[in-house]
């Protein structure tokens, strides 16, 4: 029996004020499933950071979240500019966010490092000019 649950979200690239709605929705669904609060918190943090990144850098994208018996997998796919230097982007404090994004309290270069810190697996596939797909897993 395949009992994997899947949720899909389209992230709007223009609307910074709505960023976080998909993460909130996932968090509520995981709560309803009765998952451990520590697991839920990790998923919520990692997904929110990813969602914000999609809005800041990639004009939105698609997020797919699957819940299996052993883990929660988040796949964040965008058709943005791609990441030229992934190692540099993974460093805390490195950011290419615009000043207006920083004035809202983001763009501190914490997004990708937070995603890495709060997940058990993270893989970045990026092609310049084509987009980025980030796959993250949190073990249950």
């Amino acid at each position: 029996m395949n009992d994997t649950l899947t949720f899909r979200y389209t992230i709007d690239g223009d609307d910074f004020t709505r960023a976080g709605e998909a993460s909130s929705s996932v968090k509520n669904k995981l709560k309803q499933l009765g998952l451990d609060s520590d697991v839920i918190r990790k998923v919520a943090i990692a997904m929110y950071e990813g969602e914000i990144n999609m809005v800041i850098h990639a004009d939105g994208g698609e997020i797919t979240v699957s819940v299996s018996d052993s883990d929660i997998t988040m796949i964040l796919a965008d058709r943005g500019p791609g990441i030229p230097d992934v190692d540099q982007a993974m460093q805390e404090g490195f950011s290419t966010a615009r000043p207006e994004v920083r004035s809202l309290g983001f763009g501190a270069g914490m997004g990708l490092p937070n995603m890495k810190r709060y997940t058990d697996e993270m893989k970045i596939d990026t092609v310049i000019g084509e987009g980025t797909t980030i796959t993250m897993k949190v073990y249950i």
């Binding site: 910074f16 004020t17 709505r18 960023a19 976080g20 709605e21 993460s23 909130s24 968090k27 609060s37 918190r41 919520a44 943090i45 929110y48 950071e49 914000i52 809202l104 309290g105 983001f106 501190a108 914490m110 997004g111 937070n114 810190r117 709060y118």
Partner: protein, 110 residues
């Protein structure tokens, strides 16, 4: 301490009442949302000068019980409505962040 003790502080204006009987775990001060996202404690009271819709999103994801907007900062009606729906208290004060956090500490944690 309970949220209602914070709601009763004379230096605060109540914008959204939240759940007055909720037990508060900790006081947290931070204006950078990426840091707040990873560090804000569940059931905490968060004192900040960052007042925008994303502040509420972060509070909601981290299970923050109460946001206190310091230095006269406020939030738009839409966001306050959303906070109401989510049961997150929103207070406003003219005090600086540290002074406000200290008042809460003296009231319930000292």
């Amino acid at each position: 301490m309970k949220l209602k003790q914070i709601l009763a502080l004379p230096c605060c204006r109540i914008l959204v009442e939240g759940q007055p009987d909720r037990e508060i775990s900790k006081i947290f001060c931070c204006d950078l949302l990426s840091i707040a996202m990873s560090r804000a404690p569940a059931d905490g009271v968060w004192v900040t000068v960052m007042g925008n819709r994303n502040t509420l999103a972060v509070a909601s994801l981290t299970e923050t019980a109460c946001i206190v907007l310091a230095e006269g900062v406020t939030l738009d009606e839409d966001t306050l409505g959303k906070a109401e729906e989510e049961g997150i208290a929103i207070l406003a004060t003219d005090l600086p962040v540290f002074d406000m956090a200290l008042k809460i500490y003296q009231e319930g944690f000292a």
